[in-house]
Amino acid sequence: MKDINLLHIVISLLGIMGMVSLNAVLVVWLERKTAGRMQFRHGPMEVGFHGILQTLADGIKLVSKQLVAPSHADTALFIMAPVVSLVPIFVAMMPIPFSATILAHETDTGLLLVIALGLLNTLGILLAGWGSDNKYGLLGGTRAVGQILAYKIPLLLTVLTIVILAGSFSLREIAMSQNGLWNAFMQPVAFLIYIVCIVLETNRSPFDMAEAESELVAGFHTEYSGMAFSMFFLAEYSYMFVAAALATVMFLGGWHGPILPAPIWFILKVYFLLFLMIWFRWTFPRVRIDQMLMMGWKVLLPISLINFLITAVVLAL
């Protein structure tokens, strides 16, 4: 316990909060810009240089709005849900190494920590759906639960593949072990499965069944407004960052790269993955829930299992 320095904790918490907000501002802007350009539009152009402050303006608008709870809602659950979905993501940012030295909290079990806390996000979605006394909300929450059951096993199997390659649960050591060859080239199948899984994990299109606008209005956050809605929003974009950072550490060699300093390489790789997710969102139509479950159980699970087996056998030989 003595090795924890209070100053270090405070600075890293402040850093994480700043990181989360800055990242949300940037990624939302990037998303809207990309969406615009892919549909031959400009995207936001008015607030700031090419609309870069648009997210900030929207945030101020959202914060200044009133939070209205439906009259039959379970108020405790209703208010708790956004907090439950946001706070674990904050904590999950702690063990992510931006370089060999820049990380908030060094732990041997960093990978497990991030995955375990990521699971709590779905709990928040479920509580939101349940607490808001709305059939669309409930359907969205239940869909999110079905989704988590379908993708979590393939996700864990791919993660285990990487763990047995690196021989450690520590994110720093996993990144260190890829100094030469990135895991993305050693484990292309696992990389592809993981890319699909992070899209599933963050509830983004084409797998945004939990909030499908065209079917469920806005799914689990139909009843949310103002600050609570913006917390869900922040949670989604922070979770995107965490998932992309985890993918960078596990498959893209973390901070390794020539010429540029390590943290910049890390950020570049993370933003490449974030752009990939945005690209998916604006290209693919939403799949149906049964198609998603079929894919999870019948495609991702067997392939990841076979991949894991082959890796284990090859390593044992």
């Binding site: 375990a116 699971l119 709990l123 979590k152």
Partner: protein
């Protein structure tokens, strides 16, 4: 500074204790089943905190992952599938209620009496947990394999039990 850190540590332990107890009571006594579920989640996270304070972050994280991530989500799923209004809450208390009070109390008294003869061993230390892996595939290989078989059987069993109706209706799965 050190003193302050220790204060924070003790405070976190007190919070974990309070959380576990409150969650447990909520899980058992709440009228609404979803509040029970919530209480269970709170208690399980509290127990994970207890594991952490016992010097085992690995078990704590496995607890969060398996219980909060998988079991709780599955329970929530079952909850939403089998929910029916008017069936929640507790049965009226009966003399049977003495059992869950007396039995653990008696066990606790016996245990504490036994413990009072031993000397204090001090604060739990964090140990190297990679040994767990070696132990699992060494000394405990047989139980480990049995657990694996049990899990597989449980999944197959759960599937077949849940699919009985559909098989009867459609003639196949």
């Amino acid at each position: 500074m050190d003193n302050f850190i220790f204060k924070v540590y003790y405070l976190s332990f007190a919070i974990v204790l309070a959380q576990t107890v409150a969650g447990g009571v909520l899980a058992v006594a709440a009228k609404n089943l979803i509040h029970c579920f919530l209480g269970m989640v709170v208690a399980l996270i509290g127990v994970a905190g207890l594991y952490y304070h016992l010097g085992s972050p690995f078990i704590a994280l496995m607890q969060v992952m398996i219980y909060v991530g998988a079991v709780c989500v599955a329970i929530a799923f079952g909850l939403s599938l089998t929910r029916k209004a008017g069936e929640e809450g507790l049965k009226p208390l009966s003399p049977m209620a003495v059992v869950p009070v007396v039995l653990p109390a008696g066990m606790l008294a016996a245990t504490l009496k036994g413990l009072s003869h031993l000397e204090k061993t001090g604060m739990p230390r964090k140990l190297d947990e990679s040994i767990i892996g070696w132990q699992l595939l060494g000394n405990y290989l047989f139980p480990f394999e049995i657990i694996s078989v049990l899990l597989t059987l449980a999944v197959i069993g759960a599937l077949s039990v849940a699919l009985i109706r559909r098989r009867e209706k459609n003639g196949n799965i």
